[in-house]
Amino acid sequence: MWQLALLFPLIFGEIRGLAQNASPLLETLSAELQRNFLELQAKADPPPYFIAYSVVEEESQTAAGSFGSLLNSAGGLTRSLDVTVRVGSPKLDNYHRMRGDVAQFASALPLPVEDNPNAIRRRVWLETDRVYRLASQRLIRIRANTQVKASEEDPSDDFSAAPVSTYIEPVRRLSFSQTEWNARIRRLSQECNKHRGVLSCLVLIVAARQTKYFVNSEGTRLQHGRTFARLSIQVRGKASDGMDLLATNHFDAVTADRLPKEEALLAAVKKSCEQLTALLKAPPVDPFVGPAILSGSAAGVFFHEIFGHRIEGHRQKDESEGQTFTKSVGKPVLPEFLSVISDPTRDSIGKVDLSGSYRYDDEGVPAQAVRVVEQGILKSFLMSRSPIRGFPTSNGHGRRQAGAEVVSRQSNLIVESSKAVEPAQLRMLLLEEIKRQGKPYGLYFEQVTGGFTTTARQGLQAFTVIPLIVYRVYADGRPDELVRGVSIVGTPLASFSKILATSNVPEVFNGICGAESGNVPVSAVSPALLVSEIEIQRQPAGLDSPPLLPRPSLPDSADLKTAAQTGRERQH
């Protein structure tokens, strides 16, 4: 009785929440799904055995600035619909993997932003028809492809069972003052004018509310969401030898008012500009093999890119993948003092909000914390509803961006260490290791690209990690020396077996991860790592020279008046 008493109010609360908070959109989607599913089952051949509608509603506001001027200031509300239709059976359906024939049905169809059933239902109906056609055509191609089943190593089904969930949460509100932020972004980006080497400067704030509506033919009905805010700083310049250089920083929080105060942000812009200026003067790096420390945020990115993507379940089934860990379950994959957890249910670490949190994944499966590696031993993969050998069900990691098909993706990747020392102690261990190996210096990777910067226009690959801020750490007591143009040789996966120790301070890297199911927000949390060996080389230099004419004079520089006068005289 005592336990029941506790449970009652909860259930009661949820039912009340349902009645009050369910958006008219969810009702419209449910009704149209029901109608299409029943009519298709009665009339279509092959009939669908599963239909889901997923709508992502995003309200966003942005302000971008450069050198004191706005570049962009905009806001908007969009709704995108993705329809999933499965024909055949869970054993073999239209999502079955087939080489050279990618299963792509979703289209992120824009839906009316107003809750008008007439307008919404027409679009949902036509989109369901379009997806049903593609689904049945692909199933025919799969069935005709006799090689499909025979040659497959993993005979798992195409779709697994999942619990039916109902969860309705009130639509959150986006609070963001466009006017205030426009002014703030102008002030922040004005800082770039004080630094002569900065050729390109971008300070960008994006604040958004995302609400996901999900209904499927199994009865799951969800309405849930998140808000987030991200402030990014990116400054670029060109060294005298033509090498293109970049300094960057970013801050993430659940809402814009949880971001650092303006003074702290201004200090961050200044720091990036100063880092770039220092990089422009720094010596280009020489090829090197030896010990290094990766800062917590750099280590987080490495874990995410190098390790995290390899434990995504669907890769174990895809024969075009490297399948590094497919047969490693129960075997050591990391040093025994390390454990890795993927935990979307965790909202923050310390005072830092985590980007990879959610309550339900994009297949409507409740989020679960997954212990991927325990004391060095691989225990599990990240799973969507596409089962693999030994892992028949989803653990709530099926994710996608609107318009892409769901695959298993990372959430909050958290690295835990039982061999953790104070940061100062870790540095001492590095110096010892440098001496032990007889090297003149080791390396300290303070910052590497990830998330935001990997999508930059220089065409970096999603899985490539480019070190941005790297220091030489000398064993003889000389101060650390910044170097530029560092690129990592080979796969740093090998370095993971060479982790000697970690710090005891977890650092958070919030980012946006791009892969086959699009961009999804993620976090990586790791302490700093000491590795016995990492190999680096020099990046190729740029193809062109720095600008031919000197930079036009700027107000904050001392020689402004003279330059302006000269300019005027020239005109006369």
Partner: protein, 576 residues
Amino acid sequence: MRLLKFLFGFPVLVFAQQDTNDVVLRAMKDEMARSRALRLVDAPPYFVEYTLDDADLYLAGASLGALIRERRSRLRAPRIRVRAGEPKLDNSNHIFSDVYRGARYDATEFPLDDHYDALRLAFWLATDRAYKQALEALARKKASLKNISESDRLPDFSPASVVSLILPVPKRSFDETKWRDRLRDISAVYRAYPDIFFSEVTLGISNTTSYLVNNEGTEVRMPDFLTTFRIRVSTMAPDGMPIRDYAEFLTTDVDQLPSESQLKKAAQETGDQVSARRAAPYPENYSGPVLFEGVAGPQLLAETLGRHFSPPRRPVSDPERPINFLPGELEGRLGSRILPEWMDVLDDPTQKTWRGTTLLGHYPVDIEGVPPKPVVLIEKGVLKSFLSTRQPLPGQEGSNGHARLPGPLGNNLAVAGNLFFRSSQVTAVSDLRKKLLDLCQQRGKAYAYVVRKMDFPSTASADELRRISSGLSGRPVSIPLRLYRLYPDGREEMVRGLRFRAFTTRALRDILAVSDELYLFQYLESGAPFAHMDVSGYVAGVSVVAPALLFDELELERIPGELPKPPVVSPPPLIP
């Protein structure tokens, strides 16, 4: 608008009012002055041009009574052109003229504030990049030309006089709430059309200030305002054939749009058309007389002739690198007969209105800063002249001020402004129908065809465009949207699903008769196939005034290709 009218009265040079408060113009001119010092490998730029379009954009769409999208944005789109070498031979019009291999530091998003320093910096980096790109292209072009024997090569650039035109830019605002409601209301018309699968009503407003500065001393600032109101409707016939129609209203000012009740009527009329056509017969192929009535006349002439008055020049390439280049429809045909000898064509962008309607093809100077000249293109049926930019064309002295769209390889595209088709032999509209039926009788045909609306500019889906263009040699012509059989007893019957076969500019020589009445057709030229409406980016308004046209013999055929099946599930019910 009143102020503008006064200023537009001077067709050629307008003396600038000194506007020292315009920060954008000042930043452009100051950085332009500095670009004179650019010099690398002893090839200084001989021509530098900055253009900047400062645009306020609004787009809203509604369907079945609901707002389905709304966007407001502001952008500044720069275009920095640098020519190195000399007018006789420069970096333009080579297949690699637009290629730059270095890193770009000039922002693709331009500063939106009137922030002098940020603007200077942006123009500085853009000029630096454009100049380096020009040198690279010039070197490649010279290498390519070494291996090609070219007789009488035309120069790459022609001179133009210096223009100073600083026009005031009026502030514009409109009542968003009112227009949102209006869009909802008009779109709600389609609640009464359960057979229509898709309908959308959109309002687009683009208020642009265009700036131009070049190192010859030309400076321009002028307003460029455009409002588009579109109604688009589509569905599927029971046999799967896509059926669609649209109505488009273009003005320079949102307040000049037709009234709400007129727009509603247009929506209903478009809906009625589509519903009726859904059930219309799908006829067999036809060969015989065809009458283009009303706006279909100027539509046909705009597409098949108006778009071809400026043949593109073949870009320079390496001999071993074949390029996919389609010569212009009128290339090499100066002095040839294009139309009946009783027809003339004049392009006159200096005309502002026609019978009280503002002409979209009017502009004070083109995007190269050249004031447009009226050009007699066709006289007594014979091609006399081309529309030109500062890129020389054969048989053409300099620019006649028709550079209206930015083009590739360092040049701009010439587009018509206001095309006037004049005829010395005309027939009353009613007699034209009689003539059509007479022809019908002479040929022993049971009926003839009348076209009332062409699908130009087109709203076809990508799938449909493929079908429309498949199996045709040469340039496809858009399909007739509103097509009727006319029977000898005067009865009309709507049909669907036909296209013209092998219709080229040459067919226009055989126009049998034209109406005494003239019709105005205006559209937005983007350079895209069929001037498709879904292409965003630069557009130029074109006005065409022309009569109805009677052809002795044209071929209509069924559009080939498989038709999709109609949806399995019945349409959702519409809640009134």
